[in-house]
Assembly symmetry: C2
Homo-oligomer: 336 residues x 2
DNA sequence: CTGAAAGCGCTAACAG
DNA sequence: CTGTTAGCGCTTTCAG
């Protein structure tokens, strides 16, 4: 049904290889011939079958992005950066939602390599076990990990400076005079969130008068923020500042706090992390740590493409982006 | 490098065709043979090359989703529904961001069909010109249009009842006693938004005391909402209620209004459309029209898969989802 | 039930 | 510069 390279060859009176060369703009084909072939191809509305080409070249010109959930604003932004970069380079991007489920993640890995994607962008799923790491690298596909500070591993990584971000948050809260501080974060061992907590706790401990924050783990989403904030109010009603490990959690925190009659920032200061677009429009506008999400996605495919170009096994690349404090109105000085 | 079906054949002492049959669980292969082959395949860590298979079967088991921008919360939700449904059926989903640009859209269409995706989910890009419509259907790939009420066209469609949603909004605002009403919407001829406006305007006109709303077109995002609201305040400062065609626009509207010192809902009521997750956490919580985004994405791939199954050219399918008013705190009765 | 052979549509040496 | 010839890795008749 579809018109193939053979049809074009027959119709233009040359061999298929000539058609292939002419259409792929390679050297070694007379200008007249090329013109003619191109014209015929156009007339016949010939569309090369990339699957067939992929079979012989071994390149599918397809990349994959595995995130926990695309509905998470952070990932949506990363995905857009990644897709744009891929598009510019002539690559397609297949989207996978892993829900942070290692098993689902592995299934995707399998399926993707069977389809011969040229590379995989993967959001750090929880912590990678040795076995999983092996399985992944055994896939034989270049992989770059998102939100993962360079591990001892073999994978390339791209991330924001989460630890510095945590420290930045701590510094800010300290400067505001807070002493009863809580950090609401995601699941234990959650790659980058763990880094944030680390930086936060360390900076607090390094203060002239060290502070040890309350640390609560939960789900990294709006609901998680709500639940954690409720738990916090029950267990530590005297806390005056909360640093949530993501903006979504911060939104949930604010909601729960407000519903309980606490004013923000008058009664309690709240900080987030990510600086998603909506951070500026919630009430009150959220003070948060900005990380360049779009750029992270973009950089990740650039690295991936580089890896793909030079036949897989070159040394891994690492890239870390700086973060910055965005001061808005969800925090204020601790009342005397 | 990769182990192929040949390796498995050689290693297990049978012909490749037998391996193929054994592994694909087809009839006509002795149980012992199958077991043996399966064992060998496992030992060799054989992974079928789906590209090769696709070349012969003509199915890639890949679907594509073309949206304007995945960062739009609405699309993220749709994408998740779509991806989940695709995953369950063993299909992959490639993500494309068209930015509502007809040219980019067409380029994606081309590229996708060259890669032989089995079907395309496409968000209505502006209005489809006759030529574009032809080009699309000429692609020879089943397509289902999102957010498009059944057009005269050949494509299947899935959408929410936008017109009814617009009417619902009008009714509500009318009930609240508003008479000076504005509708802030997206670009002209923007498929579903046009429907919303239509239902809104019609219902307003059908009131006992008909109302003719101010209609402003702009970008369908936060910034668009800001700009339109500013324009509105300049041109029609007496408006007491605003219906934005999307929640994102409503957020922008609220922001601009607040910055100008208007209180919401005391001075002006604001409604949105979509009911994205964040609608409940902005201040004030947004009264809006809910549409089942996840379900829309899901239903779309289900239809698409059905189309794929029965060899493309069957009659198109249409599915419309009901919407409902979600009353929160961004609207109130017009003050006397 | 299994093997042999053809071929999906294209690229890539290798001749000429 | 162009044609011939092999495949890429798999499925699928068609024999046996």
């Amino acid at each position: 049904m579809a018109v193939t390279i053979k049809d074009v060859a027959r119709e233009s009176g040359v061999n298929v290889s000539t058609v292939s060369r002419a259409l792929n703009g390679e050297y070694g084909v007379h200008a007249d011939t090329r013109e003619h072939v191109v014209a015929v191809a156009q007339r016949l509305k010939y569309r090369p079958n990339r699957v067939a080409r992929g079979l012989v070249t071994g390149r599918s010109h397809t990349l994959a992005l595995v995130v926990s959930d695309i509905r998470n604003l952070f990932f949506a932004e990363v995905a857009r950066g990644a897709e744009d970069a891929a598009y510019r380079a002539g690559y397609d991007l297949v989207l996978c939602n892993s829900d942070l489920d290692p098993e689902k993640q592995m299934r995707y890995g399998q399926s993707l390599m069977e389809k011969r994607v040229d590379g995989i962008l993967m959001n750090s799923v929880a912590v990678l076990s040795k076995k999983q790491q092996e399985q992944l690298s055994g896939l034989g596909v270049p992989i770059v990990l998102l939100n993962r500070t360079a591990p001892r591993g073999v994978f390339s990584t791209v991330c924001a400076d989460n630890e510095a971000g945590g420290a930045l948050a701590a510094e800010y809260l300290l400067k505001l005079g807070h002493r009863k501080i809580a950090h609401l974060t995601g699941p234990r061992h959650h790659g980058n969130m763990t880094e944030r907590a680390k930086g936060f706790v360390a900076r607090l401990a390094a203060a002239r008068r060290p502070v040890r924050p309350v640390l609560l783990h939960g789900k990294n989403n709006f609901q998680g923020g709500v639940e954690l904030a409720q738990k916090l109010m029950a267990q530590h009603p005297d806390v005056t500042a909360v640093f949530a490990a993501s903006d979504m959690m911060a939104f949930g925190t604010i909601r729960a706090l407000m519903e309980a009659g606490r004013r923000i920032p008058e009664d309690v200061s709240v900080m987030g992390f990510d600086n998603v677009e909506l951070a500026s429009i919630v009430h009150p506008p959220l003070t948060t740590i900005h990380q360049p999400k779009y750029e992270i996605g973009q950089a990740a495919v650039e690295i991936l493409l580089r890896l793909v170009g030079r036949g897989e096994h070159q040394g891994p690349e690492h890239r870390m982006f700086a973060v910055e404090l965005v001061e808005r109105q969800s925090c204020m000085e601790r009342k005397a």
